[in-house]
């Protein structure tokens, strides 16, 4: 019966192909897989010089399947310049999305929250990391692709959230002091939607 099924399905398939013109997959090819971020990389460079430390979350097969690979952030006490790189590994070669986010900085912002960080979006004075934005979009508001980090001994979880906040009816949704709003009200206090949200263990020793 199984063979019969195959035979019928093959026959039917043949008929369909013979009858349907152009059902090969022609004009719909403009799907942009790179729009999905699969990988976030943090690069922390000591301000006084020295080797960069890399951490991040990598989910090369996209949603589902293998869980994302988490590389914890392990720092020594000190100050760092920390940059964020975003990629989509669903396309070959991987597509760099960092520049896109920077170009559309007026609708994007990264937020650093969680017990491991004290900064504009997180009120944790005893946290091992102190974070300050070190970049700005064309309106002078932070994007968060470049940051100043102060590390002191301790450990905890850092949550990094990339928020996409397109203007609604021409009115900007990304406004000043959003990080402070997140600090007091959480993400439900601001508009837009979450493009990325990862948890990263942090150890400073």
């Amino acid at each position: 019966m199984r063979n019969l099924g195959r035979y019928i399905s093959g026959l039917v398939w043949f008929c369909v192909v013979a009858i349907v013109p152009g059902c090969g997959g022609d004009e719909v090819g403009n799907i942009n897989e790179p729009e999905v971020i699969t990988t976030i990389t943090l690069t922390a460079t000591p301000t006084g010089g020295g080797a960069s430390i890399v951490a991040g979350v990598d989910d090369p097969d996209g949603d589902g399947g293998n869980p994302p690979i988490v590389t914890p952030l392990v720092l020594s006490p000190g100050t760092y310049d920390m940059t964020i790189n975003l990629q989509s590994k669903l396309s070959t070669p991987p597509a760099d999305i960092t520049q896109e986010v920077r170009d559309e900085g007026i609708t994007h912002q990264l937020f650093f929250t969680g017990p491991a960080v004290n900064g504009p979006a997180s009120a944790q004075p005893a946290a091992p990391l102190g974070q300050a934005y070190a970049d700005a979009d064309s309106n002078g508001l932070p994007v968060g692709l470049a940051n100043k980090i102060t590390a002191s001994a301790g450990a905890g979880l850092l949550t990094i959230t990339l928020r996409h906040m397109p203007a609604v009816n021409g009115v900007a949704v990304k406004t000043a002091a959003l990080a402070e709003t997140v600090r007091t009200m959480g993400f439900s206090g601001i508009g837009g939607s979450t493009d990325l949200q990862v948890n990263l263990p942090v150890t400073v020793q």
Binding site: G5, V12, V20, I31, G64, Q197
Partner: protein, 810 residues
């Protein structure tokens, strides 16, 4: 706006019975009997029908023993009294038909049915399907009731039918729910052809413009024998108008304006039969709709505007023994998705539920712009149908249909990203060959009608976009037979059907591996991964059997009851087998189960109908047991806790399809009373209970208890306008107290009451009738959320709506 359809409904049902059935008891009330001066006491019921499709023939002149006895009434009936028992010759004559005669032996009383054949030059064969009384509970909206729904979506058009509710996904976008079943379990038949589209998505409203319909029927209960194995919840029949047969032109145009979701809808339809070629009918139809975003009482539902146009043409040619019909319909639409939807991450979603109002609603506007996120749809339906009269054998109807469904969904993405994020294309060929045999007259009171048929389907699905569903190819074939015994006071029906479905899904390597890693698929399934780029072909075949037994009993002229026992098996849809990705309507990570089998429903329903001049009503109770009901619900791990998948956007609850056993039961019904000629009072209620008996939990999106009632006042003439009516209708929907928070994601909203009203009148200008109507929905501007709406997590339902309709019939 609860009631108005009901009277039409029961009228239609009653007419249906008269058309098909020799039922002297029913007919007698229609016309006063003709009395022949024979001074005997025998009576004879004469029934005259068309030989082709058994429609009654009115105004046929009847002679009995060569004496003129009278003419048949609108039901094709004449009762003749004062006859003497013995041999009686009955003859029927009508201008449009060949004369017919029957010689019978008459006792104290008797009945005779004479079939008349159309005169060849009349080209009078009709293409419409014979309408027998369905053994399930059915409701039909047509004529005025349907006119009242012009400009609205299919689900809205049916929303007033008892037992029907809507699974809403946006302003006016909704899927009809019949007795708790929708989408994949509720096929929609358009012009006799199964609508083939992406009906699995909760937010995929059917790509059907009800403007094409002249009648829309809801059949409640498993209808697998005639409509295919997936009709386990029932079926919706969208029937275009019958084709005009006499030379001339007729048509109708409806213009509807909306205040909430500012905009309008223009639809028109014209039928023409040329005098030089009266065998030919041409129908052209089209509609155009543009609506801005809707508003709730407090804020706008930004980006819920819509744009839709349709066009269609039908050509029918009637030969002496056959009818040929060719039609093509196209629908294109762009539907905005509310900006208030927050489904990108579970934390955003849950935060939104807490907020009560959408984030940033202060910036929302009810404008007509359609921006991302939105859906773009196109649907083509081409139907070629022929109906042949095969001498005394019966009529053979052959239908071939081709459908192309193209759905693109555009997410809110970075500006650098163009194109759609989900694009589905579906090509389907359907064939259906049905033979309705000539009625077998077992006696004057017992007739057998029935049909046998074969169906076939071939389908190709092509998907591009973010991981979600695979491409597939499918083919199916089925064979069915149904017979009905019609007697004066009862009818019995039995039907059986067998279907075979073969489907091959082509999974991308990554999608395949994802199913393997999550334990849904063995890693050597479907031949496993052979190389890095080739797709993995997973084949499955299903053999399903559907069967039904039905009975109808007419107790008196007014009372009748129906019983239906059905079993139907539905094979899983490709999404249920292979879904793979974050669901487009919920922040959950969905996974299918490739080795799912068919689900089988065992359904029973009993319906009681009462119909008299002053009171019409129908009540129906049903129970369905669905074995291996394919349920999409949270995945539970070995520790008994829900499983979460960590994605780059946070932790998503994992939902999987799995077979459970489910029961659905309940009752629904409606009553229309006409205590005074100008007053009509309607009431209806529906109650549905559904449980997952495997896990002892409640199923999601099961409509809560609902009652509606209405009062209509009618006047024949007011200020030079005719057929003036005013109606007020209220609908109360209880809170759904039976829910499963794990699968529902948020508790059900509160109960609500909404009030609607209609004022309508018409004016005759020359040969044309112009109809006006002013309709209001949620006229009190109530703030409410609906349990069966995807919008309930994010925003309120639209507030007050006022519609103005002008219809021109010519």
């Amino acid at each position: 706006m609860g009631k108005p359809f009901t009277s039409t409904l029961y009228r239609a049902a009653a007419t249906g019975a008269l058309v098909m059935v020799c039922t002297p008891a029913v007919a007698q009330s229609a016309a006063s009997p003709a009395v022949l001066a024979n001074h005997c006491a025998a009576t004879l019921d004469v029934h005259i029908i068309e030989a082709f499709d058994h429609e009654p023939v009115s105004a046929a002149n009847i002679t009995v023993n060569h004496t003129f006895a009278g003419s048949t009434d609108e039901h094709g009936r004449l009762k003749v009294e004062g006859l003497c028992a013995g041999k009686v010759m009955v003859e029927a004559a009508h201008d449009a038909f060949e004369p017919g005669a029957r010689l019978i032996t008459l006792g104290p009383s008797g009945s005779v049915e004479i079939e008349l054949k159309f005169k060849v030059e009349e080209y009078a064969v009709e293409t419409k399907v014979t309408r027998t009384v369905d053994m399930r509970s059915t409701a039909t909206i047509s004529d005025e009731a349907l006119e009242r729904k012009r400009g609205q979506s299919l689900a809205e058009a049916l929303a007033d039918v008892p037992g029907v509710s809507q699974l809403r996904s946006g302003n006016g976008l909704a899927k009809p729910i019949v007795r708790g079943q929708f989408g994949r379990r509720l096929p929609i038949i358009v012009d006799g052809v199964r609508h083939r589209a992406q009906d699995w998505g909760l937010d995929h409203a059917p790509e059907i413009d009800p403007a094409i319909a002249d009648r829309i029927s809801v059949v409640r209960g498993a209808s697998g024998v005639r409509y295919g194995p997936d009709a386990i919840g029932g079926v919706l029949l969208v029937d275009p108008p019958d084709m005009r047969r006499s030379p001339g032109v007729e048509g109708q145009t409806h213009l509807v304006g909306f205040s909430n979701g500012w905009g309008g809808d223009l639809s028109t339809r014209v039928q023409a039969v040329p005098a030089s070629l009266p065998a030919l009918t041409l129908q052209l139809e089209g509609s155009l709709k543009r609506q801005a975003a809707a508003r709730t009482p407090d804020y706008a539902l930004d980006n819920t505007g819509q744009e839709q146009w349709t066009a269609g043409a039908t050509l029918a040619y009637r030969a002496s023994e056959a009818v040929y019909q060719l039609s093509f319909r196209h629908l294109a639409a762009e539907l905005g998705v509310c900006l208030c939807y927050r489904i990108d991450s579970p934390s955003d979603f849950m935060a939104q539920i807490q907020r009560g109002k959408p984030s940033g609603f202060e910036l929302y506007r009810a404008d007509a712009n359609i921006e991302r996120p939105y859906q773009a749809l196109a649907h083509d339906l081409a139907v070629a149908r022929a109906r042949w009269t095969l001498g005394n054998v019966g009529t053979l109807t052959g239908t071939y249909a081709f459908q192309y469904d193209h759905r693109r969904e555009y997410a809110l993405v970075r500006q650098a990203v163009s194109g759609s994020q989900f694009a589905f294309r579906l090509w389907t060929h359907d064939i259906d060959l049905t033979l309705e045999h000539t009625p077998v007259h077992l006696s004057d009171h017992h007739h057998l009608i029935g049909s046998i048929g074969v169906v076939g389907m071939a389908q190709v699905h092509s998907y591009d976009g973010l991981p979600l569903v695979p491409d597939h190819k499918a083919g199916s074939a089925g064979v069915f037979a149904a017979e009905r015994l019609i007697a004066d006071e009862y009818e019995l029906e039995a039907g059986v059907r067998y279907d075979f479905l073969a489907r091959t899904a082509a999974l991308d390597r990554d999608d395949f591996l994802r199913l393997v890693r999550s334990g849904q698929l063995l890693n050597d399934a479907c031949g496993g991964v052979t190389d890095a780029t080739a797709k993995i072909n997973c084949s499955s075949t299903f053999h399903t059997v559907s069967a039904s037994l039905g009975a109808l009993r007419r107790f008196t002229t007014e009372w009748s009851s129906k019983l239906d026992l059905s079993v139907a098996s539905r094979p899983p849809n490709p999404d249920e087998q292979y879904l793979n990705g974050t669901a487009p309507s919920f922040p959950v990570f969905g996974l299918g189960r490739p080795n799912l089998g068919a689900e089988t429903t065992y359904s029973a329903s009993i319906t009681a109908t009462y119909s008299s001049a002053k009171l019409a009503g129908e009540a129906s109770a049903f129970g369905n047991y669905i074995a291996d009901y394919i349920y999409f619900a949270p995945a539970i791990g070995a520790d008994g806790m829900p499983i979460f998948d960590v994605l780059i956007r946070g932790a998503f609850p994992r939902f999987v399809t799995r077979p459970v056993d489910a029961v659905f039961y309940g009752a629904d019904g409606g009553l229309t009373a006409v205590p005074l000629p100008w007053l009509e009072i309607g009431a209806q209620a529906s109650l549905i209970r559904a449980r997952n008996v495997t896990d002892h939990s409640y199923l999601v999106f099961v409509p809560s208890n609902n009652v509606r009632s209405s009062i209509t006042v009618k006047r024949a003439q007011v200020w030079g306008m005719s057929n003036v009516m005013a109606s007020v209708a209220g609908s109360y929907t209880a809170r759904q107290s039976r829910f499963d928070l794990a699968a529902d994601l948020a508790p059900p909203p509160e109960a609500y009451f909404v009030l609607g009203g209609t004022i309508a009148a018409e004016k005759r200008v020359g040969n044309q009738v112009i109809k006006f109507a002013l309709q209001g929905a949620n006229v009190l501007g109530r703030r409410y959320r609906e349990y069966t709406s995807l919008m309930r997590y994010f925003a309120d339902q639209p507030g007050r709506q006022v519609m103005l309709r002008v219809s021109l019939l010519f």
